[in-house]
């Protein structure tokens, strides 16, 4: 098989090994070796990568939905009897704090038990992917927990005890409000202001004001604005064109995250999805992008790595697949480029919103 400049390409090296990836995500959901211990507090994000990955692969049937659903609900930080912990509500990343297993309230008082914004985001997304109706989510508590995390400058902490604050958590916050269909969880004006101030002289967007523009934070900013429905209000056409230019320059074959840095599979999604939201992804080179992503595929174990001949991990496996979905790879579900879930999962979420809207109470 010849490609466009006439050289022969080994077809075996560029085929997408769907079944390997299904097995990879299945194994992720089971047991991980101790060398993954640094992921303990973010195990729920790994569940999200595996579930959403399987969803995009249209392989969710391999998963035990009821037991996964219970496990996710066991991570919800619910209000205690006296409701004194509302600012700490949402979802935990795992059971690492040692709170006894429980899938229902009231919350168990504990001096250090609190939610993490990325876990509330991935917890809600995972429930939606599993087809759950979110009826056991205490939405008001989640929103109270979210409000407690926003700073004066519009950005968010990850946890109420304090942490670093940057664009990643602005995005998580936007996803939470979008999925709960309720923007009272944040001061949108302040968040928008933080985003605007994070635009760099080179027209990319950094993690915060003055910081180097980066494919990840650019995605977080643009996707958050899209979820808010504010993209065109915040950036006039001239600025959107400048952002488009910065993003499209990230393609080298695959994509990198910053000028003069090496490419990495996950940026095929971070930058690719941003370009799609800006309506110019179609002007990228699909073939070179696809070839790069597939060069990082692990043919033995499944999954994808950031670079060729490197070890795969759940994050790169997920974003590699999403990167392929953006270019329309066959047998993959389409991924909503702002919310980062399949179109099927999105449809379920929209149905939930329609149902909630017709109910008399909140």
């Amino acid at each position: 098989m010849a490609d466009e400049d006439g050289s022969f390409v080994d077809f075996e090296q560029i085929d997408f090994l769907r079944d390997r990836h299904v097995k990879f995500f299945q194994r992720c959901l089971q047991v991980l070796p101790e060398r993954y211990s640094s992921l303990e507090t973010s195990r729920l994000t790994i569940v999200f990568f595996a579930l959403s990955g399987l969803d995009v692969l249209d392989a969710l049937d391999v998963v035990n939905k009821p037991s996964l659903t219970e496990w996710i609900y066991s991570l919800q930080v619910l209000p205690t009897d006296d409701q004194s912990n509302l600012g700490r509500c949402g979802f935990r990343g795992s059971s690492h704090i040692g709170v006894p297993y429980s899938t229902k309230g009231p919350g168990c008082p504990h001096p250090f038990d609190s939610a993490h914004v990325a876990m509330t985001y991935t917890g809600l997304a995972s429930l939606i992917i599993l087809g759950d109706d979110l009826s056991r989510v205490n939405k008001q508590a989640c929103l109270a927990g979210l409000k407690a995390l926003q700073l004066e400058d519009g950005s968010f902490y990850a946890v109420p005890e304090g942490s670093e604050n940057d664009m990643r958590f602005v995005y998580c916050a936007a996803c939470i409000c979008y999925m709960l269909n309720d923007w009272t969880g944040m001061d949108v004006k302040k968040a928008i202001d933080y985003i605007r101030r994070s635009m760099s002289y080179d027209n990319g967007i950094g993690q915060g004001a003055g910081l180097e523009s980066h494919g990840g934070s650019t995605f977080c900013a643009i996707a958050a604005l899209c979820l808010m429905g504010k993209l065109e209000e915040v950036f006039p056409k001239r600025e959107l064109d400048r952002i488009r230019r910065w993003c499209i320059m990230r393609q080298q074959n695959g994509f990198h995250g910053r000028p003069n840095k090496p490419v990495d599979t996950c940026y095929s999604f971070w930058v690719g999805a941003t370009l799609e939201l800006l309506d110019v992804f179609r002007y990228t080179n699909f073939e070179k992008n696809r070839n790069y992503i597939l060069s990082t595929q692990d043919r033995l174990v499944g999954g994808f790595a950031k670079w060729p001949d490197s070890h795969p991990d759940p994050l790169h496996a997920y974003f590699g697949i999403c990167g392929l979905s953006l270019i329309g790879e066959s047998n993959l579900r389409r991924v909503h480029p702002a919310l980062n879930i399949s179109d099927r999962a999105l449809e379920h979420m929209q149905q939930l919103h329609r149902t909630m809207e017709t109910l008399p109470c909140c």
């Binding site: 303990e40 003069n260 110019v280």
Partner: protein, 360 residues
């Protein structure tokens, strides 16, 4: 009962990679290893296991030692105990998993409650960051300690040391900008940036830092500063023409005033095109001509800059930046639509949607 004396792994000397590993492997492979559950000093505490319920997901297979340390950590957390033994335990927990933000938070609570020596804590966190410079929690912890001490005096040197190992480490640059802005340590930073650019003119983080420093000190409004920056950048471009960072900086500092309004710039860039061409140079020219067209505001003489811009877009598409050929043709079409005369004899091409190569 355990006959081995209680061992604290709290010393900084154990934090260096080599020291830590030999202590840990020694403990793990030694059959007489004494877990917390066997130590009499911990007998009052009931360990708290993790509880994932009947169907655990993404379960990490911890060794006995790991489980032991964290079961006791969870016990202390529940009690909210404030003691030296608790602090020592956080040190062990951090060695096993420095990404556990709850351990770091509890450690900070203890440092304050026990009025611990924060200079010693600075030494500790310095060693941990050296070992794990891409971990979010360690940098946040350092920031907290610096704030408590209200002493940034070690920071710039420390960060420079970390950057000497990876001069694009985003955490390091973020911490550096925080320190400089918070404690007004602008002096000497431009020199530092220039040193880094001397080492690697393609270091995008260094170019960003340049902008950070200049914009917060002299600013770019002073024409002599602006000119100085333009000339510095052009000089770097001559040294390494294929460098997106330099061209982004040049465009970035001029774009809000209008690329076409900077006297002599067009001529300088056209001259560079002969000997130091690159896709970035050509794109810069396209943007310059676009700015020219915008300033003309529909008046006379639009045909020339427009046709120049369109020719350059085609050059980029066909030759200099082929990976983005569809994009440059889109740019050309947009320019044509916005500034063209609407001549019906000029065909506007709509591209076919791309199909995924090698798909079924």
């Amino acid at each position: 009962t355990c006959s081995l004396p209680f061992k604290t792994l709290g010393g900084v000397e154990n934090m260096k990679c080599g020291g830590f590993m030999s202590v840990l492997t020694d403990l793990v492979s030694n059959p007489a290893y004494c877990g917390f559950r066997d130590r009499k000093e911990w007998a009052d505490l009931e360990p708290v296991p993790q509880d994932d319920g009947p169907n655990p997901v993404v379960k990490i297979a911890y060794s006995d030692k790991f489980t032991d340390v964290f079961d006791y950590f969870r016990a202390l957390l529940k009690k909210d105990e404030k003691s030296e033994r608790a602090l020592a335990l956080t040190t062990e927990a951090i060695e096993l998993n420095a990404a556990n933000y709850t351990v770091w938070h509890y450690r900070r609570v203890l440092l304050q409650a026990l009025q611990k020596d924060l200079r010693e804590e600075m030494r500790y966190i310095t060693a941990i960051i050296e070992d794990q410079p891409k971990n979010y929690q360690v940098w946040h912890h350092r920031r907290m300690v610096v704030e408590w001490l209200n002493d940034p005096s070690e920071e710039l040197d420390f960060i420079a040391e970390i950057l000497s190992q990876d001069n694009k480490n985003y955490h390091a640059w973020q911490h550096r900008q925080w320190v400089i802005q918070e404690y007004k340590l602008w002096d000497g930073e431009l020199d530092y940036v220039e040193e880094l650019l001397e080492e690697d003119v393609r270091n995008n983080s260094a170019w960003n830092q340049r902008h950070f420093v200049v914009s917060h000190t002299s600013g770019y409004s002073d024409p002599s500063v602006l000119e100085q920056e333009v000339q510095y950048t052009l000089k770097q471009i001559k040294k390494a023409p294929h460098n997106e960072s330099a061209w982004n900086y040049l465009k970035g500092i001029l774009q809000d005033r209008g690329l076409s309004s900077h006297p002599g710039l067009l001529e300088q860039v056209l001259e560079l095109k002969e000997t130091h061409c690159s896709p970035y140079l050509i794109a810069f020219l396209v943007d310059l001509y676009e700015d020219m067209l915008e300033s003309m505001d529909g008046g006379q003489g639009q045909e020339e800059p427009l046709s120049k811009a369109l020719v350059l877009c085609e050059l980029l598409a066909r030759e200099t930046d082929t990976i983005r050929k569809e994009y440059w043709r889109y740019v050309a079409r947009s320019l044509q639509t916005r500034f063209g005369s609407g001549d019906p004899s000029v065909p506007t091409v709509e591209t076919e949607p791309q199909t995924t190569p090698a798909s079924d």
